[in-house]
């Protein structure tokens, strides 16, 4: 019995040590140069672009995921299970493959060309970064929100409606406040994943300095040119942001494991 407990603890602490050592290697070495790096125009550009694209794509994910999650959670659709599974495809695809699919869709099909004609250019552009982040993350947010909405008794909405609420009002006055924590957790997760998205962004938007250079792309470019200082700086910024969002997630996370179980 004691041996069993000891074994479990040793594995846990070894893993913890390993993670801290690996992340710390970059973090400790990158942190001193961080202030200086934030004055380098290319890094500043990457930070700004990353923040901009990740916020916009997270907002788009929310706009699309909320109604979709509500439909999947509440309506008796024919083939609801199949629809839910198919909507999870981007979640299970390697992001690089998602990027290839997006590139071929927007670059080689009539639909992509039609969008280009009305001014929506996604290939090798900033909107392409947003599109790639959106495509990769929207399924995850749908899954989180669907779980959160399902955890709210639908009869609360029924009662609200007998008291005079329209379906939309019943949702905003009853269900939305009750899924607040799940929603915030989902948004933090979506945003931090968007911030770190590389594979799909690389395929659709390319890795073009001062054009589609997000922080992960910046790491990739600096790695390929051997600029270790800039690489450390970009990586450290991403680690910092991840740690902050992890802390925010933990704070908002009362009862979270159940709600994020879909991920």
């Amino acid at each position: 019995m004691k041996l069993f407990k000891l074994g479990n603890l040793v594995v846990t602490y070894l893993l913890l040590f390993f993670i801290l050592a690996v992340v710390g290697t970059v973090f400790v070495r990158g942190l001193p140069g961080l202030y200086r790096a934030l004055k380098v125009p290319e890094i500043v550009f990457a930070v700004k672009l990353s923040l901009y694209t990740s916020f916009v794509s997270t907002a788009l994910c929310l706009l699309v995921a909320l109604p979709a999650a509500y439909a999947l959670a509440r309506y008796r659709l024919p083939g609801r299970g199949a629809v839910a599974s198919l909507l999870r495809i981007p979640l299970s695809l390697p992001p690089l493959v998602s990027g290839v699919c997006l590139l071929l869709f927007f670059g080689t099909t009539a639909c992509g060309e039609a969008l280009e004609r009305i001014g929506l250019h996604f290939v090798f552009t900033v909107p392409g970064i947003i599109m790639a982040q959106f495509f990769v993350n929207v399924s995850g947010l749908i899954t989180v929100l669907k779980g959160a909405i399902e955890a709210v008794d639908v009869r609360l909405e029924y009662v609200a409606r007998t008291l005079g609420c329209s379906p939309g009002r019943a949702f905003t006055r009853v269900t939305l406040p009750l899924i607040k924590n799940g929603l915030l957790a989902g948004l933090i997760l979506t945003w931090s994943k968007a911030l770190g998205e590389f594979g799909a962004v690389l395929m659709l938007a390319g890795a073009i300095r001062f054009k589609t250079e997000t922080l992960p792309v910046s790491i990739y470019l600096h790695m390929s040119t051997g600029d270790l200082d800039a690489l450390m700086a970009s990586a450290t910024i991403l680690i910092l942001i991840s740690l902050i969002s992890l802390a925010a997630l933990e704070r908002k996370g009362a009862g979270l494991p159940g709600r994020v179980s879909g991920l």
Binding site: D153, Y158, V159, A160, T162, L163, G164, C165, S166, V174
Partner: protein, 314 residues
Amino acid sequence: MRNSLPEAGKLRLSGVTKKIGGFSLQDISLEVAPGEYFVVLGPTGAGKTVLLETVAGIHSVDAGEIWFDGVNITAWPPEQRRFGFVYQDYVLFPHLNVKQNIAFGARVNRWSKNGLEKKIEDIAALLGISHLLRRFPGTLSGGEQQRVALARALVTEPQILLLDEPLAALDPRNREALQQELRQLHKIAGTLTLQVTHDFEEAFFLADRIAVLDGGRLLQVGPPEEIFARPRSAAAARFVGAENIFTGEIICRDGKKFVRLDGALLEVNTGLSGPVGFSVRPEDILLNNSPQPGNCLRGKILICCEGVILQGND
């Protein structure tokens, strides 16, 4: 059309059919008069909650019509019908305190704040929950939650109150108290009330009229005494507590009708003929070891050691 007088304030279901999940309602037709306390009695799984939710407008009907106050409301959504609804397990808004729960309907309907405060105080006093207004639902007992749910439904003065087994989740003491309060409330407010329950005693105590529902079908509608004394089917009889259910055949002799029970003939007062089922309530049985006709009363059955002899009728 509105206000053909006999229809005023009346709830009428006509051939309502609804299938949802494992539950179904089949061809439900009934009328509930204004101010009536109407109880639908049925076992678990009979479709009682679906019936209430359909009346509230939460589920659309597959077939049939629902009329209220002379208006066909079949296509109306719940927010247009605004019938008060109270669930068995209260379903209070967990993120709102008691006062906000009660005020919910009024806020949605943009009542003036002054009138609302007074209204909430009055209804909270009536239900004995004035001291709970700042508490959250999670901290309340079952009885308290049920009173809050009632207050929330009543504060907007709905024209119909729908109660889904409102006493089922309560302990016996609370149950009896709330049962009395429901009757009082109904006397005061005079709201047409449609309640479902599986408890015959509760139905008997509260109802002006009872409908027996089983397997999604209405078996019988009538005043409690009639349902109790003259259940029209074996299922209804069993549901109102009849234990001794027999089958036999109506026999005519000398212009009187009899049914055979064991070796004896029971005189019955019925319009039926041919094979029938019938029940004998325990309180109508007399036990005696002297099988003399004079030892029995009219309407009772005398049973002695050797068997049953005929006495009385009905």
